[in-house]
Structure formats: structure tokens, C-alpha cells
């Protein structure tokens, strides 16, 4: 039987046993990681033309230093699982106060980070993350409606100027040279408007959440590839916030594997080492456990199975679920993505592209074929392949 999740750990890769659900804590930690790695603390301002009159009467250096100290302390407290709701709340507040204190600092990406962390701090278990989900609805509705009501977006003028004069985007220039003026710009503009307004609706309907998550990831990754920019924190925070829509397992998931295979035992060992929340309970199919779920020994001998409540995954899909339900995957991914800093990064683009492809439903047939190939040859992959259920 898997070990029960205990109290908060000091291990930053652990996310269980706190006052936040695992998915929300992973989301908040991913944003905190990106904030720290992009050295956002250096951007925190002293008061300058504040939105709230009077804030600039405070001593500027003291104000800025206090914000910086509180920002770093709350970000690390969040990472190390210390009073996670309070830490998220305080980290969000430092950003919100910074936004309110300086029109020069103001930016949508910072405001979004501040609001998401603030709302995470207000999380109440009985009510769920409704406020974070509504925040996403508002962001997409505001962005989509503003574009829809802007003549330069409807005509493609904005996008043409941005792609040609500002970004000198080579792919856009190449494709648009074959098309009548503004056609490509107009098409992309309307696609963006439709996607943003669509997402604002999709995120209101629970059964459409997976569609919304994919829409978000494709939209923001496309912007990353097209511009080479994360828009300071926007890419990280918008993609991380999708975790608020993810259905996270609340009890251990059963993994049915071939216990008579050295390669499988080796794989189990690797996965177990990274399963810090003890979310996976491994049982060999030879124990007969599969019959409880209608899985025959012949099927279980061909591929691994993962049971999550009433859902059964097998083969490549089961492996994807194991990765997706492991907080370590997200924390390592956001660390890798944010590590290159705020500038353009081919490395970051490549990592995002690989992840998108690997987890895309379109890759499923290729993933299944690859899995089947490995599964067929698994007994010859590891020397000294021994039976592990003797």
C-alpha cells in the first residue's frame, strides 16, 4: 500500500500535505520559479506616479527594499511548502502593490501574476478554485473583446505592422508575400480573437476544460514561437494557470505492470524515485489484480496499465498520465524554461515544441507505435533480466 501523504515537506519538489491542493500549489510554485529565475525582483519599483495617490509619499528606497525582501521571502516560503496559502497571498500582494505603486512598472503580465497568486492565497477547500478559473475567463474575455472592438485588429493592420515592421518575422514575411495585402494578418488576427473569446466561454464549462487547456497551450506557445518572447511573465503564468483546470488524482493510482521483466522493474524503480507524493501503487499483473478491472493477463502482458478511479489508461497514454500527474514534471519543466532568462531563447522554444508534440493527441499513434516497439523488445533491452516476483 502506498504511504499516506503526510505534513508539509521542506523538499521543494514535494507538493502534498499542504493547505492547497497539489495542482494549485504546483501552479503557484511554477510562477514563483519563473519569477525568481527571471530575476523579477530587480524590476520591483519604488513608487512612481502610483494608481493610488499617496503611495509615493512613502520613503522610496525603504518601500522598494521592503517589497524585494518580502517578495523573495514569500517566493522561497512557497517553494519550501511553508504556509503555502499565506505565502502565495503575500507574493501576489507584493506584485499587486508594485503595480499600484508605479505606472512605469504596470503591465498585464505582472498584474496577472499578482492576481493569480493573490487568488490562490484566498483558496477555500469547500469552494474549489472557482476564483482562479473566473480570472482566466475575464482575461480572455477582456483580451478578445478589446481586439474585436479595435478596427486595427479586425482589418489586420495591427498584426501586419507588428509582424513586418517590429518583429521582421521571417515566416510571416515569406507566406504573406504569396498572398494579397493584409490577408494573412487578417486571418491571424481573427483566429486570435476567436480563440480568446472561445476560451473565455470554454473555461465556463467543466467538460470543455481539456479543450481550453489545449487552446491555451497552443495559443501561448504559438506566440512564444512567433515572437521569441515570453512577454516577461505572461507565458509562464498563463500556461501554469491551466493547472487550476486540471483534475488531479486524490488517491493513489494503481499501476499494473509485468513483474517478470527486468526492464519493467528498472522503469518502475526510476518512476518510483520521482514519485515523491507516492501517487503510484505498483502491482504485477501476475498477481491477478487486472481481473478486478476487466484486464486480462494477455493484455497486461502486452502493455502497462494505469487505473485512476474509474479511468483506465494503457501503454503510452498511461506513461503520459504518470508524467502529467507528477508535480516534479512541472517544477523541472518551468525551471528549464525560465532558466535562460527573459530574452529570446531557441533552447526554450525547442523544449516547448517537443513537449507540445509529445503530449499532443496527434502524437498518440506514434507514441503507441513507439511504446509497442519497446514493449515487444523489453526482455532484450536489459541484460540480466530477472524475474522480480519470485
Amino acid at each position: 500500500m502506498a504511504a499516506a501523504i503526510t505534513g508539509p515537506s521542506w523538499n521543494p519538489l514535494r507538493c502534498g500535505g499542504t493547505m492547497l491542493p497539489v495542482n494549485l500549489l504546483v501552479m503557484a510554485k511554477a510562477i514563483a520559479i519563473a519569477l525568481l529565475l527571471t530575476n523579477h525582483v530587480a524590476l520591483l519599483p519604488d513608487p512612481f506616479l502610483p494608481f493610488i495617490p499617496g503611495l509615493d509619499l512613502l520613503p522610496p528606497v525603504l518601500f522598494q527594499r521592503t517589497l524585494q525582501v518580502v517578495f523573495v521571502a514569500s517566493a522561497f516560503a512557497l517553494l519550501f511548502n511553508r504556509s503555502v496559502r499565506l505565502s502565495a497571498f503575500v507574493l501576489g500582494m507584493t506584485i499587486i502593490v508594485s503595480v499600484l505603486a508605479s505606472k512605469a512598472y504596470y503591465g498585464n503580465n505582472k498584474t496577472f501574476c499578482g492576481f493569480i497568486l493573490f487568488l490562490t492565497g484566498l483558496y477555500e477547500p469547500a469552494r474549489g478554485p472557482w476564483m482562479i478559473r473566473l480570472q482566466l475567463v475575464l482575461v480572455y474575455f477582456g483580451a478578445g473583446s478589446n481586439k474585436l472592438l479595435d478596427p486595427d485588429w479586425r482589418s489586420g493592420v495591427f498584426f501586419q505592422n507588428w509582424a513586418v515592421n517590429r518583429l521582421h518575422q521571417p515566416l510571416f514575411l515569406a507566406i504573406s508575400s504569396y498572398l494579397p495585402a493584409l490577408v494573412l494578418a487578417k486571418a491571424i488576427s481573427w483566429f486570435t480573437i476567436a480563440t480568446e473569446l472561445g476560451l473565455s466561454v470554454v473555461f465556463l464549462v467543466r467538460r470543455l476544460y481539456p479543450l481550453g487547456i489545449w487552446g491555451n497551450l497552443v495559443l501561448h506557445s504559438s506566440m512564444l514561437f512567433f515572437t521569441g518572447s515570453t512577454f516577461t511573465m505572461f507565458f509562464y503564468a498563463m500556461t501554469a494557470s491551466m493547472l487550476a483546470f486540471a483534475s488531479w488524482p486524490t488517491s493513489p493510482m494503481l499501476v499494473i505492470f509485468d513483474g517478470d521483466c527486468g526492464f519493467c522493474a528498472l522503469t518502475k524503480g526510476w518512476v518510483e524515485r520521482l514519485d515523491l507524493e507516492h501517487l503510484l501503487e505498483w502491482r504485477p499483473y501476475q498477481s491477478g489484480v487486472g481481473s478486478r478491472y476487466g484486464i486480462s493477463d494477455a493484455d497486461a502482458a502486452k502493455r502497462l496499465y494505469l487505473i485512476n478511479g474509474d479511468r483506465i489508461y494503457s501503454g503510452f497514454r498511461a506513461f503520459k498520465m504518470m508524467v502529467l500527474c507528477n508535480p516534479v514534471s512541472y517544477l523541472v519543466t518551468y525551471t528549464v524554461l525560465a532558466a535562460p532568462g527573459p530574452g529570446d531563447s531557441r533552447f526554450r522554444n525547442i523544449v516547448v515544441a517537443i513537449l507540445l508534440v509529445l503530449f499532443s493527441p496527434l502524437f498518440q499513434p506514434a507514441g503507441d507505435a513507439l511504446y509497442a516497439l519497446v514493449a515487444r523488445n523489453r526482455r532484450s533491452l536489459v541484460a540480466n533480466s530477472n524475474c522480480s516476483i519470485e
Binding site: A104, F118, E124, L138, V139, F141, G142, N146, L149, W162
Partner: protein, 112 residues
């Protein structure tokens, strides 16, 4: 209490999204990267033109730059500065700008 705080924050944003339909600025209404404003600031104090470094120090914005938001945000900073911190040291500012690559426009402070 927590629910109220969250509801207030979300309703504030709804109000700002509506409010943005009636004003040129785009604060707290989720209009990220919706406008490209290329601008150039010419700032004179006591008849002397400020250098790029001095302009940045004064307004915390580059003298020549692109703002990914409404031109009103740059104007708000210049006007806000001149009406508060810069009152004892007033400047004459000419801001030439293009919105989304269209024809150049001019904004001046103080207004004429």
C-alpha cells in the same frame, strides 16, 4: 471574507473592461499587446533639450521606443510627472507617435 475579497477583485476587472470602452487608456482591462505605439519624446526644460538619458530618468521611459499598449499610457506618465514631481522644474514636451504603423500624430505638454 475570502470569497468577498475575490469577488471584489473580479468585479473590479469587469468594471475596468467596461470602462475601457469609454476611455483611451487600457489599465486593468486585459488588453495585452493590443496596440503598438512607436513614439519619440522631445523634452525641453528651461529651453534646453534633455538627452535620452535624462528623459529616461525623468519619465522612466525611453526617449524613443515602442510601447505595446495605448499611447495614452505614455501620455499619462508624462502628464502625471509634469503635474506632480516636475512642477518645480516644468518641461515642454512634444511626443510624436504612430499607432500600429499608421500616420504620425503629435501630442504636446503643456497643451496648446
Amino acid at each position: 471574507m475570502k470569497t468577498t475579497a475575490a469577488a471584489v477583485l473580479l468585479l473590479f476587472q469587469v468594471a475596468m473592461i467596461v470602462y475601457a470602452r469609454f476611455v483611451p487608456s487600457r489599465y486593468f482591462c486585459w488588453a495585452p499587446f493590443d496596440i503598438q505605439t512607436e513614439y519619440r519624446l522631445q523634452v525641453k526644460v528651461d529651453g534646453r533639450e534633455l538627452s535620452a538619458k535624462e528623459v529616461r530618468a525623468r519619465y522612466r521611459r525611453p526617449q524613443n521606443g515602442t510601447d505595446n499598449r495605448s499611447p495614452q499610457h505614455v501620455m499619462d506618465i508624462v502628464q502625471g510627472y509634469e503635474e506632480s514631481y516636475g512642477r518645480g522644474n516644468p518641461a515642454h514636451v512634444v511626443m510624436r507617435f504612430r499607432v500600429n504603423g499608421k500616420e504620425e500624430q503629435v501630442w504636446r505638454w503643456p497643451p496648446q
